[in-house]
């Protein structure tokens, strides 16, 4: 079976600094992959390069066999990679439902003139989008918040809304950048259930960056460890827990003292 996402030899260079090098990974459909590493290891850079926010200096990215390297960010999204951001980036003054509808933008096809003349295609597609948007929100128990401005939501709800918006683009691969940041243990446990649900309901592969080890170890089928832009280890949670290189990357400085 071909992997849904096939990244080979990806690298990026920031003015002489090799922020990421030799990054290889094949992600299977419905797989949950964890990406961990110390601060500044290049985890978010992987997401930024995958979505072409930064242009990689080398390597290849194939999504279900199709080359998407060098495609602009919105094209990458349209092809099936959606993401969330470490520091939440919602459309704050727009309503929750509008945030989701923006994610649904490409599921609608009516033209500018249909919008201007309010042709039937406008009404039909808008109604369908509103229905789908509410359904997506309902999955995350956020349906009754539909009309609230996104910026007014509590922190946890904002994080969930970002995931809903990403799912609205109908992705094959979902990139979650520190989804549990700032959450307490019970919220994190809730989030873990949600992520599992998402994978099952939406049939997506998930790559997540996370510092919360209970979450990473508890739900990832495979873990990649990055340090200084290089993959220093990968394997199952148990393999990673006992890998001396990983322990050194995380604890090395303390041992030296």
């Amino acid at each position: 079976m071909t992997p849904v996402l096939d990244i080979s030899n990806l690298g990026i260079n920031f003015g002489g600094l090799q922020a990421l090098d030799d990054f290889n990974i094949q992600v299977r459909n419905r797989e949950i992959v964890g990406l961990i590493g110390p601060n500044g290891a290049g985890k978010t850079t992987v997401f930024n390069v995958l979505t072409n926010v930064y242009q990689p200096s080398k390597g290849g990215i194939r999504l279900t066999g199709k080359n998407i390297l060098g495609k602009s960010t919105h094209e990458v999204t349209r092809n099936g990679i959606a993401r969330t951001f470490q520091n939440i980036r919602l459309f704050k003054s727009l309503s929750v439902l509008d945030n989701v509808k923006i994610g649904l933008h490409n599921s609608m096809t009516y033209s500018l003139f249909s919008a201007w003349l309010r042709l039937p295609s406008y009404w039909k597609e808008e109604a369908a989008a509103a229905k789908l948007g509410r359904e997506l929100l309902a999955v995350f128990d956020m349906e009754e918040l539909s009309d609230a401005p996104a910026g007014s939501l509590p922190y946890g709800a904002q994080r969930r809304l970002e995931i809903v918006r990403a799912l609205a683009t109908n992705p094959k691969v979902l990139l979650l950048d520190e989804p549990a940041a700032g959450m307490n243990p019970s919220e994190t446990a809730e989030l873990m259930r949600t992520i599992h649900d998402v994978r099952d309901k939406f049939d997506v592969a998930i790559i997540l960056i996370e510092h919360d080890m209970s979450l990473v170890m508890g739900m990832c089928e495979r873990i990649l460890v990055l340090n200084y832009g290089l993959i220093i280890a990968q394997g199952t949670p148990d393999e990673i827990k006992n890998n001396p290189l990983v322990i050194e990357a995380y604890l090395g400085q303390q041992r030296g003292e």
Binding site: T44, V53, Y54, F85
Partner: protein, 291 residues
């Protein structure tokens, strides 16, 4: 050949005026990230105050000049305190619109006081110097010489003095500067005062060569100086100086070889090319947003 030299010297003259004004734009942008649209109108206020002191009180030229530098510095500081400071936190668009508002206000107040009719401004530096077959007015030589001196002084001020270092620190990172015990408000005030004072000097030199002043004179002059600041790399002092000279020379050459009507188009053409090719300008550092 002689024509070229002549055009170059004229270009240097107007270019040094642009440089003086561009420095103000650049310093202010560096420190509060604002394109201070009112800066051009400070030039105009400088010109009017010098003219008024000289023609109504028969004050000696050099005192009038000094006084207008002081007036402009105070005005610049006041504008910042009253109009820009309350908006420091509310976004760049609001600041930009406020600056446009202040610009319109200055123009119209002066128009109300002195009418829209142009006034004659007497040249302070009479006499000429002959180079080869061409004559240059003393205004040209004094403008170039004094501007160079001022720029050298300014460079020293920013590099060596305490307040200069404070300015650079605030430009780099406002909040950290505050944590380091720098009085950010005073530093910003000083920057506005300094920039506005330079604009007044520019205004006086400008008037000595062009002899006519009117309430709207600052808009075009200010815009061109702004183009100079962008060309050099906004926020960079050597950039503002170089940019000013380049714009001055480009304008002078256009006038001499193409058509005097197209100078504005050429200046804005340069702006567009710079912004599209290298928006950070000659000396500027590129900026990127962190994701």
């Amino acid at each position: 050949m002689m024509t070229l030299v002549y055009l170059m010297i004229n270009g240097l003259q107007i270019g040094s005026i642009y440089s003086l004004v561009a420095l103000g734009y650049s310093m202010v942008y560096g420190i509060v990230k604002l394109v201070n649209f009112a800066h051009g109108d400070i030039i105009m206020v400088g010109a009017y105050s010098t003219w008024y002191l000289m023609s109504h009180f028969s004050v000696p030229a050099w005192i009038a000049a000094l006084a207008s530098v002081v007036i402009c510095s105070v005005l610049g500081m006041l504008i910042e305190k009253i109009a820009y400071k309350p908006l420091r936190k509310s976004g760049r668009l609001s600041l930009l619109v406020t600056a446009i508002g202040v610009s319109l206000l200055l123009q119209n107040v002066v128009q109300l006081l002195f009418s829209a009719n142009p006034r004659m401004f007497a040249n302070m530096f009479t006499g000429t110097v002959t180079v080869g077959e061409r004559q240059f007015s003393n205004a040209t030589t004094v403008t170039i010489a004094v501007s160079i001196a001022i720029m050298a002084g300014l460079t020293l001020l920013v590099k060596k003095t305490k307040i200069g270092k404070a300015m650079r620190t605030v430009s780099e990172d406002n909040e950290t500067a505050q944590l380091m015990g720098i009085n950010v408000n005073n530093t910003i005030s000083f920057t506005f005062a300094l920039g506005s004072g330079l604009a007044a000097v520019g205004a006086i030199f400008y008037c000595c060569s062009y002899s006519q002043i009117q309430p709207t004179m600052g808009s075009m002059l200010g815009l061109k100086a702004f183009v100079a600041a962008v060309l050099g790399g906004i926020g960079s002092l050597p950039g503002a100086m170089t940019g000013g000279l380049c714009i001055g020379i480009a304008e002078s050459l256009t006038k001499g070889y193409i058509s005097s009507q197209l100078t504005d188009a050429v200046v804005f053409g340069i702006l567009i090319v710079v912004l599209l090719v290298k928006p950070s300008g000659i000396f500027g550092r590129p900026q990127s947003e962190k994701v």
